[in-house]
């Protein structure tokens, strides 16, 4: 038995099954719980693809941060008639048709390219890559600082295309700061403003 394939199947089944469960259940509290499991299993898929740092960040930021935020939102707004809100039955038919055709399109696209399916020569180079796979935290950190240390074997004329990510990193940092200040401003309690308006 191939343990890599076994764990891939396990995590893929958990991720997909709970993603579908998020869609099918109409209880908002259960949706939040299923989403946690689905995103956690996706972190396992990232580890299996060799992206250890991204998998850890998925667990820390997504599961540990974003979903806790979402669950707080659910708790703050969970009144009895908001917990289960359903749409009409004939709307489900339209959604099933659109979603099914989108899924069909994506799946045929995934199997259309022969390079993406696994041939025997790819399996050999896969073993070679697995034998000297390194942790990705240091190359990723250097790439975010604008220096690429992972591109030794790339040919000389392709090097300029492999720039670092210093400017996007700065932009995303400022963006995150602006967003957090803005959301704190939006969600603050407005009692003082209201009482002043009453005067």
């Amino acid at each position: 038995m191939n343990w890599h394939s076994f764990f891939f199947l396990l995590f893929a089944l958990i991720a997909c099954a709970f993603a579908v469960a998020v869609v099918l259940t109409s209880n908002i509290v259960r949706m939040a719980f299923y989403l946690t499991l689905s995103l956690g299993a996706t972190a396992g898929l990232f580890f299996l693809a060799g992206a250890d740092f991204v998998g850890a960040m998925q667990l820390l930021i997504y599961v540990g941060g974003t979903l806790v935020l979402l669950i707080f939102g659910v708790m703050l707004t969970a009144q009895a008639h908001f917990i289960t809100m359903k749409i009409e039955r004939n709307q489900w038919v339209i959604v099933a048709i659109v979603g099914g055709s989108l899924l069909f399109l994506l799946l045929t696209a995934a199997f259309r390219v022969p390079e993406w399916r696994l041939g025997s020569e790819v399996a050999e180079s896969q073993e070679a890559a697995a034998s000297h796979s390194r942790p990705t935290a240091t190359p990723l950190g250097m790439a975010l600082l604008g220096v690429r240390v992972d591109t030794e074997e790339v040919s000389e004329e392709k090097q300029p295309g492999l720039a670092g990510y210093l400017l996007p990193f700065e932009i995303i940092s400022v963006h995150l700061l602006v967003v957090l200040i803005g959301s704190a401003y939006l969600a603050r309690a407005k009692r003082r403003a209201r009482s002043r308006a009453l005067e």
């Binding site: 949706m31 996706t42 992206a51 935020l69 979402l70 994506l106 995934a110 020569e121 591109t151 407005k190």
Partner: protein
């Protein structure tokens, strides 16, 4: 039992990403709770992330000139941070709407309708 013995390729990851993406789109379309729509967006971003990591992975594809390598993981990191920012703003808007209208039903948010 073919799946258990053959090695995992990019197409396997693309299937998982496609299912997560479609589940997110359907979730966005069918939920009336604003937080449910937000969870659909998270699923869509996560499905895209799976594809980015799969295309950048040497373990799935072997070393080749056309691989996007570390760029895929860097983009996945950016997507994770952007998802956190987007969730914070959307939650703030939802709470504000809840404070003003005492509901989180997106069908009731029709004040801007002409």
């Amino acid at each position: 039992m073919d799946l258990l013995t053959q090695p995992v390729g990019i197409a396997h990851y693309l299937v998982v990403g496609a299912i997560l993406f479609v589940a997110g789109v359907v979730c966005m379309a069918t939920k009336r709770n604003a937080l449910g729509v937000l969870m659909g967006i998270e699923l869509v971003l996560n499905g895209a992330n799976v594809n980015f990591v799969a295309f950048g992975s040497e373990l799935l594809r072997g070393r080749s000139e056309s691989s996007i390598g570390l760029d895929g993981q860097a983009i996945a990191l950016f997507v994770i941070v952007l998802a956190a920012a987007e969730a914070a703003v959307a939650l703030a808007i939802t709470l504000n709407f809840y404070n003003n209208h005492a509901t989180v039903d997106v069908d009731r948010a029709d004040e801007l309708k002409g």
